[in-house]
């Protein structure tokens, strides 16, 4: 299933046509590197792997290996060209297209997400808000008017929406997911605490806020039981 092959031979300069297949762990870190690059803001032309790794909170060897996977643009003895590397990561992540995103469910959480400027500032355009509650339809949030979920197919086609965010209660999430898929959406970010079933070819990522707290709670519990024991040794457990 997985083969190790390097797409780019070291002799081909210029274009990067072939799509490298990156390890999943690397993909998850690229956005971190990108954020770190944007936060540099001190006008340096280049940055070393050590410096960028520190800014992103990772090991420098890991960073170099990650970047090497995408046929990186570093210069030995100097470092990475900030502008070039930024552009390269943005290209790989497909952020140069400012993808259209729709959001379904403008309840408590959805309301906040609709107004979250972190989306707009980092490569995305929220172009439509939907809800099934007629009372909420028509409300304006951050310059967008909430539409009824029935309008999804039409709007999705008009705006070429490929990414959908689900911020509904769990009971409605699967139905909404089906609607999104039917409307042509092929990537879903799910905030509802439930498992979604989708056809092959559709990607789902899940964010469960309570689960994150529960994991922290476990570590609290563990730490509490350790301090009650003799011979406890302190150890860093940072992220």
């Amino acid at each position: 299933m997985s083969e190790q092959r390097h797409g780019n031979t070291p002799g081909t300069p210029g274009a990067v046509p072939a799509f490298p297949d990156l390890p999943e762990a690397t993909i998850a870190r690229l956005p971190e590197y990108l954020r770190a690059l944007h936060n540099l803001a001190d006008g340096a032309e280049t940055i070393s792997s050590e410096g960028l790794a520190a800014a992103a909170g990772v090991n420098s060897a890991k960073l170099r290996k990650d970047l090497s996977h995408l046929g990186s643009y570093g210069t030995r003895g100097v470092g990475y060209d900030v502008a070039l590397l930024t552009a390269q990561i943005e290209y790989i992540l497909g952020l140069d297209q400012r993808r259209a995103v729709c959001l379904v469910g403008v309840g408590n959480l959805g309301h906040a997400l609709a107004g979250y400027d972190g989306f707009a500032s980092r490569g995305f355009r929220i172009v439509a808000l939907f809800d099934a509650d007629a009372n909420r339809v028509g409300e304006e949030i951050s310059g967008l008017v909430v539409r009824h979920i029935d309008e999804l197919p039409q709007v999705a086609a008009e705006e070429s929406i490929a990414i959908g965010v689900i911020a509904t209660p769990a009971s409605a999430a699967q139905t909404v997911a089906d609607d999104l898929v039917a409307a042509g959406v092929t990537s879903i970010l799910n905030f509802a605490p439930c498992v979604l079933t989708v056809p092959a070819g559709v990607d789902v990522r899940k964010v469960d806020l309570a689960i994150e707290l529960q994991i922290l709670s476990f570590h609290e519990h563990r730490k509490a039981s350790l301090t009650a024991l003799p011979g406890g040794r302190t150890e860093a457990v940072g992220s």
Copy 2:
């Protein structure tokens, strides 16, 4: 809870490990299992690993191995006792204590988190809201009054707060984290898009909403480039 009756370290004499040390990957899945258990709601006394795995969206072998790590309470030929397993996982996660949580930053996102009932319904009590903006102090959100960040040490001590949530802009996050640590908080859930530096013994988990979208964007980009290539074979990439 019940007696610890499994000594899984045959070499250590006498000292019963008060706490099983679970693989990190297992810990991250326990909340999923717990949610699946709560969602059963069909009154069944027992459930098989196959059934629970399906409800949680994982492989059944993985689930069995996970549960075996905590000295599981299953019966061969029958399955797991739902009530017992639920209690066991809740105990391990430390959820039987309804831990006190404070939230710093009641802006756009923090406002929504303060009102998110998923926290309350899954083992946590939000007991205090803080903000540095004097204009926001005094506002009431979901029955809690926003206090100034300067009151944090006092309130944290009174309420025995061990977990803090950061929902401030990135520029304020590190300072807030320092304040939380100084106030005795030992677990932090960080929604700000930045790297936090904390002392050893303090756990940090990070949720970056934009990163999740960027990862989806990558997969969109990949899928788009695959369909443009010959011999492209679609492949399932489930949750």
